[in-house]
Symmetry: none
Subunit: 417 residues, 2 copies
C-alpha cells in the first residue's frame, strides 16, 4: 500500500518551520508496513493545494494532510479537499460541545470563527483533539483514504498515537510485519562498504539492504517484511551475519548511534576512566565525550595544548622532544598521552597532535595526525594517520579515529575476559 | 520568480532523516527575493523522481535537487535529470583531479564507483565541493534552471553560501542588481529583534528585511534590488543604520559569520592571546575557538576540568574553594580563570562552570552557569547565567556567551583606543 504526506502552511515554504511531521508519519507508517512514496509541502493557497491533492489521489491509497485546520481565513485544507472530493462539510454537534467546553474552562467567549472547526466530512471519521480545538478527520473516496491532522506537534502526535494508528490498522488490515535493523560502521567508506556487500544488495529485496553515509561513519540498514515480526527478524539474521563476517571489524554498534556514545557507555560499564590531550582537534574530542549525559562518570578531563608553550609547561612534554621531533610527531603524541594519564590519574589516555590545515607546518603535510593511546602500566601506542579534506573534516576524523581506537580496545577487553 | 525544492533519498521517506534542507534553501531564497512554492521529497526511485522533475519543470523557474549525488548505485538524481532534459553527462577533468587528490592523501585507492561523481552536465556549471567528493551542478533548459546539491549538510551549506548564492544572484537578477547584506546578533531573541524592527519590516519591501534564528544568535538580512549594485546598497544603507541604532548593542558582525570567528580575528588583530578552563562545556569552547584556521596565533590552549580532582590537581583551584562553594560557583569560576591565565601565560582567560543537565547537581538547578573573565593584571569578572533547554543547548549557549563577553571587551578596546 502506498501513502504520501502533504504538509500545508506558508511558514514551511518561507523556511520558518522545519517539517518534522513528514518524517514522524513516515516512521510510523513504515512500522505499520505502509510505504510512504512522497512528501509534499505546499502553502496556504487553494489552487496549489488542489493540484497537490489531485496528484496524490491518482497515485496513493492513503494521503495525510497536516495543517490548515485552524480557525482563520487562510486555513483551507478541509474546504479544499471537500471541493475536490465533492463531499460536503456538515456541523458535528459533538465537536461543537467539545469546543464550548474547551473555551468554558478558560472563561473565554468562543471567537465566532472557531465554529469553522466544528464542520466535518459527511460520512467521515472524526478524531477527538484532546489538546486543541481542531478535530482530526478521515474520509474516503474511490479507494483513497484521506487523514487530516492538526499542525501543532503536541496535537498531532497524541492524536496519531491514540486514534489514527488504530484506525489505519483497522482500515488497511492484511498488512505484514516490517522490521528494520541497523549496523554502524567506522573506518570504512560508504562506497567500499557497498562494494563489499554488492552481491548481497543486488541479490536480496527482502530484506532490503541499504547504506547511508553519516558525518563520520556509515550506517547499513536491513529491512524485511513477513507475516510476523519474528519471521521478519529471521529473514534479516543470516544476511546480517554475512555482512558482519565481511566487514565486522569496522562495525562498532548493532544500532544506529554515535561512536563516542558507544565508547562512553563501555567505559562506564567497565568502570574505567579516560583523559585526553588534544592539539589539532582543539577540544573536539573532549566535546564529543562530554556531549553524552552521565559522561562525568568516566571522563576525567583533558588539556587542549594548542601552543608549544602549553605542551611543555602545562602538560609537561619534555622540551627536547618538542625541539628534536616537533609538536606533530609520534614522540610528542607519546609524551602527551603519558603525561595526561598521570596528571588526571585515569585508566586510559588519548592524545591527538596533527596538522588540521589549511596550511602545512613544521614541513609536514596537512592531515598528518598522530594519536597516542595509553593504558595504565603499559607503554603508549602511537597511530599515524594521513587525513584529507577541510580543516573541520580533519578535526572530526581525527577525533572519531581516537574514539575508534579506544572502542576497539574496549571490545577486545570484552572478548578476552 | 518561482522556485521549488526537491529532496531525494529513501531515508527521508522512511522517516530516518528530517528534511532540513528545504527550510534552509527556502529561507535563503526568500532573502534573495525568490518565492518557493513547493517542497517535495522522493525516494531513490527513478520513475517517481522523473515524475517529480517533470511537474517542477512545468511550474517553476528554479528547481533545487538535493541528494542522490553519491557514488553508489542508488544515487540517480543526476542521471535522471540528464535523461529528462536530454542533456548528456560528460567527465570533467577538474573534478577527476579533485577526486584523485581527495583519495591520494588518504593512501586509499579510489573505489571505481566514485568516478561516477566526475560526470557533469554538458554546458552546465560545476560547484566545487570543498567537503566531499560530489560536486554541485547547475544546468538550464527551456527557462528552467536546475541546481543539484549534495545531501550532507556540511557539504551543501558551505557550497550554497560560497558558490550557489552568488550564482543565483547573477542568474536571476532580471537585468537588475540584487544585493543582500546581513547583520549578526547575539544575546537578543529572534522575536524581540523582529519586534524591535517591526515597523521597518512592514514598511519596506525594497529592501526586504527578514530575521533568521540560528543555532545560537540571530541573523537579520536586508535584500534590495535596483538598476545598479551601488543603488541597491544605497537603498539598504539607511535602513541598516536604523536597525543598528535600535539593536546595535547585540550586533557582533556586519556579515553572516559565527561569533567565535569574529572574536578570534579580533584577538589576532590586537595581538592578544586567550586560554580557557571548561567544566560544563566540556571542550566545546576550545573547539569553537580552534575551528578557525589560524587560531593558533591567539589560542594558547585550555583545560577541560570535568572532575573535581582535575579542577584541584590539574588547574589548581584551592581545595577549600571547591569544598565551601562547590564546583558550580562564582568562586570556582574565578579561581579557574585566574589559574588558567597564569598557567598558559595568556592575555585573557575565560572559565565556564555550570550544570548542563539533564540532572541537577550540588542542589543547583540545570542551566545554572558561571563564566569567569580574566584580563592580565585585573581582577576576574564573573557572570551568572540561568540557561534553558537541552544539555546540548545549554553547552552551546554557555560557550557562545563566553565568546560574547570577550567580543564585547575587544569591541570596547577598539573604540577607546
Amino acid at each position: 500500500m502506498r501513502a504520501e504526506v502533504i504538509t500545508v502552511g506558508s511558514e514551511l515554504l518561507l523556511g520558518e518551520t522545519v517539517d518534522t511531521h513528514s518524517a514522524y508519519l513516515s516512521r510510523e507508517c513504515f512500522s505499520l508496513g505502509v510505504e510512504v512514496v512522497f512528501h509534499t509541502s505546499v502553502g496556504d493557497e487553494q489552487a496549489r493545494l488542489m493540484e497537490t491533492i489531485e496528484r496524490a489521489h491518482g497515485r496513493s491509497q492513503l494521503v495525510f494532510l497536516c495543517g490548515g485546520l485552524g480557525p482563520t481565513l487562510d486555513d483551507l485544507t478541509k474546504e479544499t479537499l471537500s471541493a475536490f472530493l465533492r463531499i460536503p462539510l456538515i456541523q458535528d454537534p459533538v465537536v461543537v460541545k467539545h469546543l464550548e467546553r474547551y473555551f468554558q474552562g478558560r472563561s473565554q467567549n468562543i471567537p465566532s470563527n472557531n465554529y469553522k472547526q466544528t464542520y466535518v466530512f459527511e460520512g467521515g471519521v472524526v478524531f477527538h483533539n484532546a489538546n486543541g480545538t481542531a478535530p482530526g478527520l478521515a474520509v474516503s473516496k474511490e479507494d483513497v483514504t484521506y487523514v487530516l491532522l492538526p499542525g501543532p506537534p503536541r496535537e498531532l502526535i497524541p492524536m496519531f498515537e491514540q486514534q489514527v494508528r488504530p484506525f489505519i490498522l483497522a482500515t488497511f488490515s492484511g498488512g505484514q510485519a516490517m522490521v528494520s535493523e541497523a549496523l554502524s560502521f567506522f573506518g570504512i567508506g560508504e562506497s567500499l562498504l557497498e562494494e563489499t556487500c554488492k552481491d548481497l544488495i543486488q541479490a536480496y529485496d527482502n530484506p532490503i539492504i541499504a547504506t547511508y553515509a553519516k558525518e563520520a561513519g556509515v550506517t547499513l540498514r536491513l529491512t524485511a517484511r513477513a507475516a510476523t515480526e519474528l519471521e521478519a527478524r529471521e529473514l534479516i539474521a543470516p544476511i546480517k551475519r554475512e555482512v558482519l563476517k565481511r566487514a565486522g571489524d569496522y562495525c562498532y554498534s548493532e544500532q544506529e548511534e554515535p561512536l563516542e556514545e558507544v565508547v562512553m557507555r563501555a567505559l562506564i560499564q567497565h568502570g574505567k576512566t579516560i583523559a585526553v590531550a588534544e592539539s589539532c582537534t582543539g577540544g573536539l574530542l573532549s566535546h564529543l565525550f562530554t556531549s553524552m549525559a552521565g559522561s562525568s562518570q568516566a571522563f576525567m578531563g583533558g588539556v587542549v595544548s594548542y601552543s608549544g608553550f602549553s605542551k611543555e609547561k602545562v602538560v609537561g612534554v619534555p622540551e627536547e622532544v618538542l625541539k628534536r621531533y616537533g609538536t606533530v610527531s609520534a614522540q610528542t603524541a607519546e609524551a602527551l598521552a603519558e603525561q595526561v594519564q598521570t596528571r588526571f590519574a585515569s585508566d586510559f589516555a588519548l592524545s591527538v597532535t596533527g596538522i588540521a590545515g589549511p596550511d602545512e607546518a613544521e614541513g609536514k603535510p596537512v592531515g598528518l595526525v598522530f594519536i597516542g593511546f595509553k593504558e595504565a602500566s603499559k607503554p603508549v601506542r602511537v597511530y599515524r594517520l594521513q587525513l584529507r579534506g577541510s580543516r573541520r573534516r580533519i578535526q572530526l576524523q581525527a577525533a572519531k579515529q581516537a574514539c575508534f581506537i579506544l572502542q576497539q580496545r574496549l571490545k577486545k577487553g570484552e572478548t578476552t575476559r
